[in-house]
Amino acid sequence: MIKQKVRVKSFKINDITVTGRSDQTLLEVAKEHNIFIPTLCYLEGLSCVGSCRLCLVEIKGAHELVPACTSKIKEDMEVITTSEKIDSHRKMILSMIFSERSHTCSVCEANGDCELQNKSVELQLDHSLVPYIDSRFAIDASHKNFVHDPNRCILCSRCVRVCSEIEGANAINIAGRGINSQIIHDMDDPWIDSQSCTSCGKCVYVCPTGALYEKEISKEDVITKREIIHNLLKSRAENE
């Protein structure tokens, strides 16, 4: 197998000249240069899928905005990370995420420690720009330790990725299409009946919202456990 040669490339982000390796994504290079791009489905250590689209940026000459987390850098490209157009797209994307499911913070386990909630503060989205759909999904509380509430799921697929890429169990997948999609265990079995799930809890710790949560756990413990997975992902990445 011929290994592609990694080269150093120079380009501009917001008129600032930056350099990165040719195998890096726009998001990675921006982060290295302390240029902030909002993300939601992205988690360091996991593969990037560009599912949430919050990291959309503009590349001069391109017809459409592209997600920074999945776009590889190119020599001499000119990238804009913030503009009126980009901001309004991000707000609309966030509104659509909110409107798809029932994100009622006041009665949610993740209230105060929710990445979706924080994102709305960050992007100054104080109300949804599109009407709520008020969909209803059945909660799966069959597992002895964990609960899956699809009503709070944003389909970021972090759980799917961590289960596959870090734990190696492949117990979780996404079924259905469009707004009816939801994460499932094995062949859409109740969680407790999943033969593949190792009950490691990694999916719960990477969930950005209250869609996956641990039963009978205090908020302080949730934050501590999130650190565990963060450190684990970091050490795995370092060992590779």
């Binding site: 006041s106 209803r136 059945a138 909660i139 509380a141 205090s218």
Partner: protein, 474 residues
Amino acid sequence: MKTIIIDPVTRIEGHAKITIDLNEDGSVEDARLHVTQYRGFEKFCEGKIYTDMPALTARTCGICPVSHVISSSKACDTLLSVTPPKAAINIRKIVNLAQIIQSHTLNFYHLSSPDFVYGFDAPKEDRNIFKLMQTHPKMAKDGIELRAFGQKIIESLAGKRIHPTGIIPGGVSNILEIEVKEKLLQEIPRAMKIAQNTLKYFKENLHKFQKEIDSFASFSSLFMAIVGEDGSLEHYDGVLRFIDSEGNVLNEAIDPQNYKEFIGEAVEDDSYLKSPYYKPLGYPQGMYRVGALARLNVATKCGTPLADEELKNFKALGRGKPVQNSFYYHYARIIEIIYGLEKIEQLLRDEDTLSENIVARGKINVSRGVGCSEAPRGTLFHDYQVDSNGIIEKVNLIIATGNNNLAMNAGVKQVAKAFIDPANITDGALNRVEAVIRCFDPCLSCSTHALGIVSSQIELRDHHKKIIKIFARN
């Protein structure tokens, strides 16, 4: 024949209207309270997990969320078959009493005091707390301070003033810090002084309202309340007791889990508020009252010195029988504020309250659980049915105000008959029709667990039910 419509009914929590029907000769034939809001908590809670229920049902109300959190958590305790540790029970009791203090104060000072200070016939633009701030600033400040103290206790022990998060299935989530305990204990004497001044003011002015005392929902009815094992006043845990208007005990100790054997719920076609009744007597003969008046009628003692002393005076009003005049709800509420402050002090001083053992863990062990407690307005029931994973399959809520629905309707009719002169309908008379509702201190948003529609009025209708005049208060 005419119909008078009072809409909105003012200075109450929630939205309602009153219709007064006049017969052919022009006298009052009937009067009814219509609760005009619908919300549907019992339905949308289905499919939720039981651990969400305290936070979810707390949203029924912004005045008495603590009651819902407590009854809900107690229902969940039953589902888990656990008994919360003593510290957790004490903290729950303190928070519950703090809410009774703040809610009773709200009714007395913020909502009802203008009637006492300026009289029921005062110009309507004067009958509000802002006028009270101008003419009686100390009294208004005292009311605000006392209510704030109740809210402060809730915040200190349960996290938030409104919709507190610290009470959870199995116990509570925060221990009582010794500094918090000391700080609250220091403030109790000041709050007690305000409460005693309130009592003094009320008793000194009571003679002015004899006609209202005689006609504000003053009739025979049953009374229901939770009592402690020894028959003493209780708000958190105990057995249900029914007494009749003569004071005879109909049921001494009903386990709240079996409430359905004794309480039926009738649905009226003109109100979103259901009408609970005492099943053995049927509907509508089984009308009963709940709330502060009922609690003091049913209980044999308060169990704290100052409240017990005043309870004697209260009981004397009934001359050996239960006090039937709903105007005395106001009196009963002030006694309960005093009781609440005394009891909170006792519970704070209890060494067990400082324990770090504050939650009992468990899994779903039974499929149905009833949580029952005394809310400021009366007995509150949360009844949940769950599957083996704790997903809610069925919810039944009987809200304190709902228990009083039949009595409130009877009261409106009684006041309308006593004060409404169809030839000359005065604002004072209409205010009295509203004020009888205020005696019961209803929380209509809670009682319908319903969607808010801002509208209430008094409708005047003729004998063909045709609306002749609407008295709107928008």
